[in-house]
Symmetry: C2
Subunit: 407 residues, 2 copies
């Protein structure tokens, strides 16, 4: 597997575009198009929030029922959530317009929105934007980058990743982009993520690969514990790599899953590390847990703890809060048998074991905690299950960004 430096346009046959439609933001691009020159199989995972944005309802239906998909239209600024029938009508208008200008059926168009909840999108503005996108669409890294930038809201950096992998003697490419910084606590889903691949795979196996990968990647990150109304991951596969179609488990399927996992992990970590106001990516690895489920619950409990996140921001080795978060997670364990370590590029040190604090240097701990990527290692000494979760620290800027997001 080889990591390459592009995103949704990395795989054969995929094009992209960005446009400034003035949906809410001024003086910046706020719409993106992902387009495949040939029909794609599509798989998606969506928010588990009962309050589902209109595009989530639209896409769930398309992914399940359309024979194929060929385009995704995305806007930032307004989430099209809690918008009633008018919001659904907007999705329909977007698909109709995109079908018209791209010369594809409206049933082959997916839509996604991100931004403030409760505002209606101006249909004239968004359909005008779709015309601009269709005229601008192009293959190549530049177009992919423009799309990745257009979907940002409070994100401070754009987020892309791509890899190539050999499958059945052919080079298969998997690439993606995502956005997400606040209201990040995906549950069977993510904020907005778009992955494109030229792999030749059946829809059934694509869906299987996506579900398995999401559980260990996007569903293991949290910025603030708030599961969005818009969380969406869409994966499009157009088959242009020319490998023999993957229709069952085996070496080819495993190779594709590994590539997909690599992209999803990279994108998920980018979201966590760019959490609103974050100064550090905060990773927790739980090893030797009794079950995989326990390992996940424990790891997520630590990265979700406001107190622990504030301590990471302060570079303060307040490990009691980590143990506290493990304790209220819901997983059963004996605190006397847990080992805790801090780790970063500056080093690794044990801080807790045998039920009491280790004799560690506060100065050394602060040094480790001052790096931009900080890891807590938790050894449960109970079994052989493992899980990793990613979050970020809690800073003044998180409060600042969210105390007055709408103005």
């Amino acid at each position: 597997m080889k990591i390459i430096d592009v995103g949704v346009t990395a795989a054969k046959g995929f094009e992209a575009a960005a446009a400034a439609a003035g949906i809410k933001y001024q003086n910046r691009t706020d719409m993106a198009l992902v387009y495949s020159t040939v029909p794609c199989k599509a798989a998606g995972t969506f928010t588990s929030n009962i309050v589902k944005a209109a595009p989530v309802v639209w896409d769930s239906n398309v992914v399940e029922n359309s024979p194929y998909v060929q385009a995704v239209v995305v806007n930032s600024g307004i989430a099209n959530a809690c918008t009633g029938q008018q919001g659904m009508d907007c999705c329909k208008a977007e698909a109709v317009k995109a079908g018209e200008v791209l010369n594809i059926p409206e049933s082959a168009v997916l839509v996604a929105s991100t931004g403030v909840i409760g505002k209606q999108i101006d249909v004239e503005k968004i359909t005008a934007g779709i015309e601009l996108l269709a005229a601008a669409k192009a293959p190549g890294a530049e177009a992919g980058l423009a799309a990745a930038k257009a979907i940002m809201t409070t994100d401070t950096v754009h987020k892309q990743a791509a890899v190539t992998v050999e499958i059945g003697g052919k080079t298969v490419t998997v690439g993606g982009m995502c956005k997400g910084s606040g209201m990040i606590h995906p549950n069977m889903c993510t904020m907005l993520g778009f992955v494109t691949t030229d792999v030749n795979i059946s829809k059934e196996m694509l869906t299987k690969a996506v579900k398995a990968s999401v559980a260990d990647t996007f569903n293991m990150i949290s910025v603030d514990g708030d599961t969005s109304t818009n969380d969406t991951l869409l994966v499009l596969a157009n088959g242009l790599a020319g490998n023999e179609e993957i229709t069952e488990e085996g070496a080819d399927f495993d190779a594709f899953c590994e590539a997909l996992n690599t992209i999803n992990t990279a994108l998920a970590k980018k979201m966590a590390g760019d959490g609103e106001g974050a100064t550090a990516l905060f990773e927790t690895i739980v090893t030797n847990a009794a079950t995989k489920e326990d390992a996940k619950i424990l790891a997520k409990s630590v990265i979700c703890s406001s107190l622990t996140k504030a301590a990471i921001f302060g570079h303060d080795a307040n490990w009691g809060r980590i143990l506290c978060a493990l304790g209220y997670s819901g997983a059963k364990f004996d605190p006397e048998n847990v080992d805790l370590y801090f780790q970063s590029k500056s080093g690794k040190m044990q801080i807790f074991g045998n039920g009491v604090a280790c004799d560690y240097s506060e100065e050394e701990a602060t040094k480790i905690l001052s790096d931009p990527e900080v890891t807590v290692l938790v050894d449960m000494h109970m079994g052989d299950a493992q899980a990793t979760a990613w979050g970020c620290d809690l800073s003044y800027d998180y409060v600042k960004i969210n105390a007055d997001y709408r103005s």
Copy 2:
């Protein structure tokens, strides 16, 4: 029922004291004693965190097995949590010393600690503090106030409440104090709460009253979603009011429960409103839910949402976040049938209904949200169950306090 302006020394036969023992803080009191001149029945609820502080283990045993209780020794500064056998030995030393200087059995002594996790308490300092407490103990409001101040950590105000109520022709008093500002997300318990009463009641009925009351009061508040290792509520009843002993359900039991609920609600709200860094008490009342359990889950989800809390801090009517928090709570409902209102002493306004935003004035909404006590009313239109939860806003100061709590 009559509200009176005192705390743990309000009921007949209860005394209190404070002392400066130098456990961690300098130049302030950091130990408190609650003492009854006669034996008490005791009930308690404790943290559900698997990581239980040593005093929680000690008190659980005393409440369950001791024939009676007569004193509670409390320290602030160090939580005596994650301290292994040495922590348990400290509890024992505290009880032995208190028994000696108060002339009561060590099995009649409860202990409680609050502060930083993982540090050991100096036994010589705490036993010296107990000698000071025993010498200083006194009845009356002044002693109660001194105790309420000594148990504060990051609290900005001390927290007391008391009421009198007629039971069986006698005046019964219920009073209490508590502390709690961060790591507040009680589950079957609270941070540290101490309630004293002169009611004459059987241990069985006292336990029943306490369990029922905690579920609707202390367990319905959250500051930061972190369930502490030390959460403890202790209720002592010494019988000196002279009412006929309450041994079964009925009018007398109901009157006592109402008084207890009043105190627990008042103390719980004081904790939520004094949440670390808080500038406002944030209340959510859910009405007409399908079940009581749903009402509680929905109300707590709103007051726990970091994004909603940051919006309250910014006086921003970002109701989409409230609907989002209801949606991911886990309770089932139809978003089209939910009504949302903001309310404070400045007024009441509907902001959402029939699936879309109401036509409300942002200026008026900001005015309502600028008061020190802000309420969100949620009408589910599904049944007749109701619940109230209390939290606070999320401010810069929460981050400041917790980024470097230990120094």
